[in-house]
Symmetry: C2
Subunit: 159 residues, 2 copies
């Protein structure tokens, strides 16, 4: 059990301009989290935390998310070994989003096996109307084989 | 009106490993968007898009979000002048999050006046239990004065 570090939200001035940590959890009790590699700045993944996951992340210094598919706390890397060591935690202006800068032990953050979850980009621009949108892979090789790491664990992706 | 670029979600293999763009919008019809500066890698803001905003962003090459407070499309920078020119659009493994790399005309992305919305960090670690959590400002000066730019517009922050 960890302390509750969070203040009540009292005013816009407090939320935006003060040193109070007063995060806003959504109607499901969650706050979105952006996780980047502290060296490269690359976005590795986007997840969610509930009150407990956020407090525990602050206390432990390792990323603990809330898994919406498993409906439970998710200490990232406990199964795969790819622990995310916190280097910095930031909060945004209205305190409804968290940014974690992390060092990933083992170098992978994506359950599909890539370094980052964002391994495909989307073509865009004025001439895109009539052409087909075809994603382009920006990572060529997987860092690990998910079948070996996760064995028979359920794939978290939902259709 | 723009084309609908999006495919139907058929299988986990299609979503994770193919070149189909088949995004997942949540129960409110929204997908979270992470926006970073294409040069520095800094996270500037986190927002949301609905189907229409996402398609228009792809077609226009400038960031168009869905404003949850105003309940309408939000062409970022139309009011403030701080347009976000798209440099790259990425999608994550299960296609429920978008990452935009942008160039910000004018250099600010935060309605409070800072360069990034993430201008405060949170102390963390093992000795944090008994101490008070006090946010630390990482940006010292505002890029612009919100009162001059937005005049009497409603502050989007909700308590």
């Amino acid at each position: 059990m960890v302390d509750n570090f969070f203040k009540k939200r009292k005013s816009i001035k407090q939320v935006e301009e003060s040193t109070d940590l007063a995060p806003k959890f959504d109607e499901n009790g969650l706050i979105p989290v952006i996780t980047t590699d502290f060296r490269s700045g690359e976005v590795l993944m986007q997840g969610y935390m509930n009150n407990d996951a956020f407090a525990k992340t602050i206390a432990l210094g390792e990323a603990i998310y809330y898994s919406r598919s498993r409906k439970s706390l998710w200490h990232k890397g406990k199964k795969s070994g790819f622990i995310q060591k916190i280097k910095e935690i930031l909060i945004d202006d209205d305190q409804d989003c968290v940014w974690l800068k992390v060092e990933v032990i083992g170098g992978a953050s994506c359950h599909v096996g890539y370094r980052s979850c964002f391994y495909r980009n989307i073509p865009f621009g004025k001439n895109i109307y009539k052409s087909k949108i075809i994603l382009k892979f920006t990572e060529k090789e997987k860092v690990f084989d998910p079948k070996k790491i996760y064995k028979n664990a359920l794939n978290p992706t939902k259709l």
